[in-house]
Point group: D4
């Protein structure tokens, strides 16, 4: 029933992005069946939201996979990663140490999509000098991914400092009212800074997909 | 039934703050009965949340009152305002033009409590230079009241720039998700900046009371 | 107090987008003071969220402004609109007639930012043939803005049909559970289609800013 | 106290459906007492929401039961399953692999109610070709059960393709905003496709009951 | 822009139900353009959620329409109503007087779809004798639509008394906690009665569509 | 710090009810200190919300206590239970097996308060005959406690059958939308049956206190 | 359709309380039909939630009715009010002036049910001396109804001062977070004071029904 | 990547408070790297939200740290605690035993900031005599921190008894509706007592920071 036929072979053509496997609700047995099928397709393989226990069991069976603990990713077929997919550099910014898993998920996915990234980690707004120190670097971004939990104010501040589009990722850091990333999500949706859109809480993969779609080299132009 | 006996005569002694009338749910008839009773007590009189229609009707009957439209306040007995109640200056900061009613409610109430105030209006985080331009002034505050709607990030930024306590007031500016000031409220409660506490959405009066309590000259000390 | 000094003169340099006035919480008096100041700056002028009653009063005083009823926009300085700001065409898609105000707000703002737009209106998912009929056109988009209320499924479907980035705008169409656009917002945040990010409910202006930031011609590149 | 007297003997007569045991809040001891009582009644036995640990303990005592892991069902008295209860075929559709437990719960319950089913699994809207490939089959359904998590858009799309009634089942797949199936539930309730009603999140059993009630052969007619 | 081309001509073929116009977000101008186009198509015409003020203005222009005040419907082309579309009688039950608008919307829509209906109004569960008095009649239903606000318990009680499928419609009757129909919606989704599914709050039209889909005479069967 | 001085010695005089210990957030060490102090006061002792693991550890140290597993109560000083505190019998009704823990918590607490109780368990509204069978018994109640999860409709039905006051207890039974008892709580708050008030979800102890306060023999009368 | 047959004639026998009309969703026409029917039944008549505009129109037609503005009640048949229905006095307590409409609704309904009441108005917890001054009077209550908005703390304080049962009524006073009475409702449900149950927000009528049910003279006893 | 460079060295100067480490989302490895770096800076070290398992592992590596179990704090560099930072005594009040962890977190942090504290534990409003017994002591506070769960009424009562500013901390004590501290949070935000502001649920550290900012000796004055 779970045969590889269900893999979406034409997705790359249609959307410009390879298929990735959302691992959260999949069993080890399902992953051990789907991932080898993807590996056989000579394209980079990514499975997201894999906890370390599941990863260990899958890797024991599918030897070609590598596990990235902070990002909770399984990857494979590194040799098939495309090069130079992007027009510029994608900068990934985080507010605090706790936003690292989401930022790393985005960074590694972009690497597998063939895009160049730079990171500015731990630049939350309660100490403004930390992000102001990077204002020149921010000007050079083609796209920015800004991950923040708690009050989620960093994307607003960054979007006010640069003309590049900002993808805001709320993270499920925090507690009490606004726990689970809701304060950050609502804050980002209500930002009055220009050039900012939001993906779901902790959705580092989604942010990477949007960044890749924006940064793609061969942007279709009416003139072509 | 609605006689003046219910006014809380000892509140000033107990809490150091005069009684103010919360006008939102009161009828013109109730206000026209309660406010003259307060005026007879030789103390500054404040009624909050009075829309202009109600204000006009009450002022027609109780001539000694003044209406402040932006702040939606009725005040009276100006001659009884105490002087020099505070140890320092209270600075009131807003993110945008739409936060003015709440900020003005706080500012006028503090004036009636006998405290000195300074204002920094329209300094939202999407244009950081606006608040950074005031960083020296912020150092001189005894207490700060920071009102912001939308993503509500300004109090976090201000609290990271000054050692004085910050009272954050979410305002019901915004729309969609987080409408009614909820994004701002949640953001402020989740702030990771030190020395910050929150009052209810649009509660300029409550912010003024807290600021006055903090800034009171004769702070009771165990040694004294 | 409300002098034009507070206008953010460097915003265009910093963010690549002209300042627009969020009209919802502003009084006619405030608008009649701010908008002429903007008109004097020789740049396109936009004020969003202006209901027709307010618009009439403002236009009576500030003759150079034009009102767009469906989009609820006041605009001016048409002669200063830049030309050819974008690398490609931005396609705006709506699910139903009720999403028109939001889509038109986005379309007119983009026109004032100097970007080219095409529209596909009334292509909701309950009649799939309506969006499938445009599949070739969708391939030619540089960026897409997809506005939908109710179940908010259209952006997912569109993002699965094209490699260009999709900006999803939930609209406050609907009733009962999910009223106010919440069903659409949550659906879009949970989309499993790649290359999709979300702005706040009814935020046509925000969608236009993000689309313009993505579509800007002079994308900063590390090599330059 | 927990004697079998409380079993609802007339339920089949009243509602046309056999009683099933909702296992989630029941202890092993309660199940080991109730299920044998049902087995003695010469009718198909179903207990839903039984995790594998509980199942193992119950089956060790009540040997006549079979456990279905994906569907989390205990069943018994297979020999008493009615045949040909339905007027047509019930088609069960899912958006993704993660919706399988809910779909299988519905499918097995329908089998025990004596209805014929066909399944179309893994046909989410981000790859429209997957559901379009089955459009002819969809025409032949008597009733459809469509299970989807995330944005929950599949039932709208299916209901727009077929005249048969669609029972939409939101599943608790997803994360962040809309986690727990709320995005899918709200989306389905706000669907503008005709001929669609919703059951609770993950309620595969409820969907099966509704489908069986609709598909029953001996529909009471005014002529009888 | 708003030409009749966007009307979904094949909807009747695809879904077995004529297109109806959701009037809530449409202007008088839009309705006065769309409805005559539908009238020209020689099929029954229904526009839902039309308040009496809008109705008056539209009827002044489009003379062929009739307004139904309680149901808030505009209808036309009565002469084209199909006859005998259904296999049996659809019974519509309400808990209280306040549920009438929703029930009448459902009843009139079903009449326009060509189905026979019977009504049991004002049979809330706080006086059980009211619904028990109709228990025989309930047995004769082909489908039931049960509308209730407040605690929303009536559909559970009815579904326990009859083998026919029950479509539960929460109504926005009530106040305080659970206002807007949420208590009723949640209650109906949590019903443990068999053979019950739910449509959105106040969605009488949606309930009618589902009831019509279930009650259609020519149910497609694999054998045919 | 945790000395017994903090026990509220005058509570019985003030409120007519002995102090009970809310065990949920207390450690074994805290319980092992507080409960012996209460035992020394020659009054019945009750500690609520004690899971079996905690109970075992506390009972190992404090030998005079008895654990009631379904009700999750620790009790002691049975010999000091008052007799005949009540004017009549308190009837406890539940909708399903899963409501037993809450009902038993209420029943045992009432026993320790010296009130007589009768129980009607498993009488949910999807099979009305179950509660109708007890209609005569319901007339004899002095007070009723009705516990129900899921749609929470049973208290409405019961309150419509009897003149005695009904205390409705929502239980955290159910799943999906309305999980955690919220559907039941909202339903009960919105009940239109007369003579019904609600306590918090799963608050069997609170229901017992209210029932005891209502049923107290020596009700203060103006004549005394 | 709206004939008087639907009035619940046996409600008084079953529940001990006369039927009252919930006026909020009823039209003037419906009220003008239902209320005369009730007046003819020689029992006290009450219609709740009638705004002054509706009241004026109904009273113009049905001359025997009296309107109570604060309580928003229409009453009639005063001559049929029973006397001495209660065993003791019901005390109604409010926190502030804004809670008066709810308290007065409860007080007048109880008067029509034949119960004696005493009121303690304006005794909120921010000035504890106000409620402490009445501690002796509180001891004499048979039942208490305590209405409070804002933080809703008054019922907890009162329930800690008296052995009589307390019916807590949250009122929709307040703003921002907790607006609509939700802060008060949640606070009351979470009260740790004994002998307290809650009715819905602003439900003065429901509180009166519960109080009357508790205070009824002829409480059914098993011995009788 | 996680080098100590990211520690915010100038925070003490800017905000008057030393940096503390929020331990909840940090791994043992991250803590074992950050804390020694802080210890080398000759200032008091605090890490909050450290569960006992994590604490044990960190202490095994970093010997200079002490673990405080109730407060869930790791502290170090006790010899560098400043003395006499405050102008007066900060009083910490709790409603119940379950609020102790939050109160102790606040108390220990204040000790490390160099402020004097006094505690009043277990003074909930259901037994008013407990807080009234301390009314004289309350007058002597410079600032108050009041922690309460459940209905969260204690801060209102305390703020009505003293002129000092009150910092209200909702705690995640309670269950059912309002679980997780939401009832307490909403209640505190809606308090009508003067001189009260709120921090996030369970945020003892935030309360301590605000109290320290208010109580700082060298308050900046305009005269200086």
């Amino acid at each position: 029933m779970l045969d590889s036929a269900r893999l979406d072979h034409h997705r790359l053509l249609r959307t410009g992005l390879p298929e990735a496997v959302f691992g959260e609700n999949k069993t080890v047995i399902q992953l051990a069946e789907i991932l080898p099928a993807l590996l056989r397709r000579h394209a980079p393989v990514i499975a997201t939201r894999i906890d370390s226990m599941k990863a260990e069991q899958v890797c024991a069976v599918v030897k070609e996979l590598t596990y990235h603990q902070t990002a909770r990713l399984l990857t494979g077929n590194t040799q098939h990663i495309p090069r130079g997919s992007g027009r510029g550099t994608i900068i990934i910014v985080t507010a605090g140490t706790s936003d690292l898993p989401v930022a790393e998920e985005a960074r590694l996915c972009l690497e597998y999509f063939g895009h160049e990234t730079t990171t500015i980690y731990d630049a939350g707004v309660a100490g403004l000098h930390r992000i102001l120190a990077h204002s020149e670097l921010l000007q050079r971004a083609s796209v920015l991914i800004v991950a923040a939990g708690m009050e989620g104010a960093l994307p607003s501040v960054v979007a006010g400092m640069t003309p590049a589009p900002v993808i805001a990722v709320p993270t499920s850091v925090g507690y009490g009212a606004g726990a689970g990333g809701f304060a950050a999500l609502l804050g980002m949706l209500n930002s009055c800074a220009p050039g900012l859109a939001v993906v779901n809480i902790d959705n580092g993969f989604g942010a990477a997909c949007m960044a890749a779609a924006i940064n793609r080299k061969e942007l279709p132009c009416p003139a072509q």
